[in-house]
């Protein structure tokens, strides 16, 4: 009896001391996000995507690109909605310019970034992400104040997410 107990305890001790140290997905997300200027945004965005639990840095970059795309698409919808009821010519002009800028993000920057990540030419992902951040910022700057920008929060979200993408893609250089 004592021998059995001893063996069970011994096995338990061995099992626990020999537990392999697992490099958890959240460790990689944290180390990666620490290298971006928006840690919290980065972490919450990546963790929200189920793919992140088994992604390497390139995979995380891909997720970041997808999230920029989603946010930019939502913002574009917001802009086209606002265009329908915009009367002020300055507002109209700014919103129309923003449509072009957001189209550039969705139709050019993001596809280029994803292809660059997948094929191992990360500098094009970095430059696309930089451009996406600039497009969002340029859109925000284009409002004459008055009238003020009706999409400040969205522009900031896209800008910041793009900056996160830029930082993660830079890790692949």
């Amino acid at each position: 009896m004592t021998k059995t107990i001893f063996l069970v305890i011994l096995q338990a001790v061995i099992s626990f001391t020999c537990l392999p140290v697992s490099y958890s997905a959240s460790d990689l997300i944290e180390t990666t996000c620490k290298q971006t200027p928006f840690f919290d945004l980065c972490v919450s965005t990546l963790q929200a995507d189920p793919r992140s639990s088994s992604a390497d840095v390139a995979g995380l970059a891909h997720i970041a690109a997808d999230s920029v795309n989603a946010k930019a698409t939502a913002t574009l919808n917001q802009i086209t909605g606002l265009l329908k009821s915009a009367g002020d010519p300055n507002l109209l002009k700014a919103l129309q310019g923003c449509v072009d800028k957001y189209n550039a993000i969705i139709q050019a920057d993001i596809p280029v970034a994803i292809e660059a990540i997948v094929k191992g030419n990360p500098k094009f992902a970095v430059s696309s992400a930089t451009d996406a951040a600039n497009e969002a910022q340029n859109c925000e700057n284009s409002f004459a104040n008055p009238p003020n920008s009706p999409i400040t929060d969205s522009n900031k979200a896209v800008h910041d997410l793009s900056t996160v993408l830029e930082s993660i893609a830079s890790l692949l250089l």
Partner: protein, 572 residues
């Protein structure tokens, strides 16, 4: 030992390429770019930024070149579907004079498992018998970077329009044995012959943060064996793209065969740095028995090293023009505009005017100068000589089409007493130019040119010099200041700078090639070169003007000025 084969009919000289990538057959309709078709069709008909004499395609993206000569052949990475990077194929143009170009169908595009996901950069080599061969990076079915061979289908076609790929592709690839990183293995160079009659080629790579030039050798150009050690490597430089390795004559300006070694030459090793999108080169010696390159003592191996061009310039490549005995440098100039603007105008990317390249007399750097052929576009010659340029003055240069011009000016400085002292901490010329732009008054400088300037100077691009008193000698700072180049705030208006080594400092020359949205400047006869992209709102076409300015307190003398309108070339 040398000897690339010479043939009277086609003496081909190849050179390089760029980074890029392509996609499956152009009909891959489900590819992400399908939406770009509609965006493209609305491209603006108003095109104030298209160049008159710099190479660019009618539409879309270019980012590299490979020149292959006899007839000069330019192969470049091209996206037929949009004004961004993607769907890359090898577009092809030929020229008799490096000035006017004839387009042909794309030469290389995805067609084998070893390049089905992209035909990226590569180089051409002239094999004995006058046969060109291209080795290029393909992206295979697993998205790995591999190296492939293509040769002309029909050697008697002077335009070399069709190319066939080796059934043995890929010839070089990452394996579990060689442990080469499959996403860091690209841009094979022009090959050269060693004393053992084996060809050598280098391919850019990295291990962690160490940049590498992996060396392969071959007897037959098909079977390649990796050398035990890389040709060269450097710590902390990141991925090495577009390596280029070639000899330069120790005296004179002539180019020499890529395989030449011995006391009459030094070797140049250049890479494009993925991390910073700048290039750097070193000058050194090549041990062709051990196959090791060693840069000369004092060489700087980093982003702070010597550059061909201190502005917007990347993915460059040289080739030997054996007809005119010169080594020629090509470079890719990307846009400084937003992608939204690129889509609107329907194109992105231009090339510099090809430059002759040779070792400076000091032996410590290279000198470049636009090929002489470009001068045949000159017209409406305007000149000035021996004119005093007082401090605070601006002089207009009339009579030339300021948006499409070639300007060459030299200044004479006689009194250096008032030169500002150069602080020892001022080691970064780009930063120094950003802090001391054209509008910051100085003592001996800033003086130079205001190009693509609006009448009220609200918009202008300033290319100028400042002279400082350094430790034991005078130091010349050359700047290209884009901060006021355009009222459009969406552009990248970064200022560029370089230190210019001119000794003795009596005359300071500056040449600028101006072409609507590109300003290529050469200081000191080509010892420092800076290329910039600008997109004025006002200073376009006939509303663009050219001035000489001096915003320093001290007068300088214009020894001579020559300016010309540049005729429009046929670039495609």
């Amino acid at each position: 030992m040398q000897n690339m084969a010479n043939s009277k009919v086609g003496f081909f000289l190849f050179f390089a390429l760029l980074v890029g990538h392509g996609i499956v057959e152009l009909e891959a309709s489900h590819h992400v770019f399908k939406n770009l078709q509609t965006v493209q069709s609305t491209a603006s008909t108003n095109q104030p930024y298209r160049t008159g004499y710099h190479f660019q395609p009618p539409r879309n993206w270019i980012n590299g070149l490979m020149v292959y000569k006899g007839l000069y052949h330019l192969f470049y990475q091209y996206n037929p579907k949009g004004a961004v990077w993607g769907n890359i194929v090898w577009a092809h143009s030929t020229s008799k004079d490096l000035v006017n170009w004839t387009p042909h169908d794309p030469a290389i595009y995805p067609s084998q498992p070893s390049d089905i996901n992209g035909c990226w950069s590569g180089s051409a080599t002239l094999l004995p018998g006058g046969k060109p061969a291209i080795i290029y990076t393909g992206i295979d079915t697993k998205n790995s970077q591999v190296q492939n061979l293509a040769t002309p289908k029909n050697l008697s076609d002077p335009y070399l329009r069709e190319w066939i790929k080796s059934p043995k592709n890929p010839l070089m690839q990452p394996t579990s044995q060689n442990q080469i990183n499959a996403s860091s293995f690209r841009d094979p160079t022009t090959a050269w012959l060693g004393p053992d009659k084996k060809w050598r080629v280098i391919i850019g790579s990295k291990i962690n943060r160490q940049g590498l030039a992996i060396l392969y050798k071959s007897k037959d150009f098909v079977n390649w064996v990796q050398a035990q050690t890389p040709l060269h490597s450097a710590k902390d430089t990141g991925m090495w793209e577009c390596p280029d390795f070639f000899p330069v004559s120790v005296s004179g300006q002539n180019g020499v065969d890529t395989s030449l070694t011995g006391p009459s030459v030094k070797h140049v090793f250049k890479v494009s740095l993925d991390d910073t999108k700048h290039e750097y080169y070193t000058i050194g010696s090549y041990d062709n028995v051990k196959d090791i390159y060693k840069p000369d003592k004092g060489s700087v191996e980093s982003d702070s090293g010597l550059r061909y061009d201190y502005g917007k310039f990347y993915a460059s490549k040289t080739f030997l023009d054996s007809v005119k005995n010169r080594r020629i440098l090509w470079g890719w100039i990307n846009e400084s505009s937003s992608v939204a603007d690129d889509i609107k105008k329907g194109w992105a990317g231009v090339h510099v005017i090809p430059r002759k390249l040779w070792l400076a007399k000091s032996g410590k750097q290279l000198t470049q100068w636009p090929v002489a052929e470009i001068e045949k576009l000159r017209a409406n010659h305007v000149s000035l000589s021996s004119k005093l340029l007082k401090g605070g003055s601006v002089i207009k240069v009339p009579g030339v089409t300021a948006a499409q011009a070639d300007v060459d000016i030299s200044f004479e400085i006689s009194d250096f007493k008032k030169a500002e002292v150069l602080k020892p901490s001022w080691t970064n010329p780009q930063l120094l130019c950003s802090q001391k732009g054209a509008s910051v008054k100085g003592s001996l400088g800033p003086f130079g040119l205001l190009v693509l300037a609006s009448k009220d100077l609200k918009e202008n691009t300033a290319v100028f010099f400042r002279i400082f008193k350094g430790q034991n000698k005078y130091v010349v700072l050359m700047c290209s200041d884009q901060s006021r180049s355009s009222l459009n705030q969406d552009n990248d208006k970064t200022t560029y700078g370089a230190f210019l080594d001119v000794d003795p400092l009596r005359q300071l020359s500056l040449r600028s090639l101006i072409d609507h949205s590109i300003v290529e400047s050469f200081g000191g006869g080509g010892k420092a070169c800076i290329t910039a992209r600008v997109y004025p709102n006002l200073a376009i076409n006939n509303a663009a003007h050219l001035y000489i300015f001096n915003n320093g307190s001290e007068a300088v003398k214009i020894a001579k000025l020559n300016a010309w309108s540049m005729k429009t070339a046929k670039v495609n």
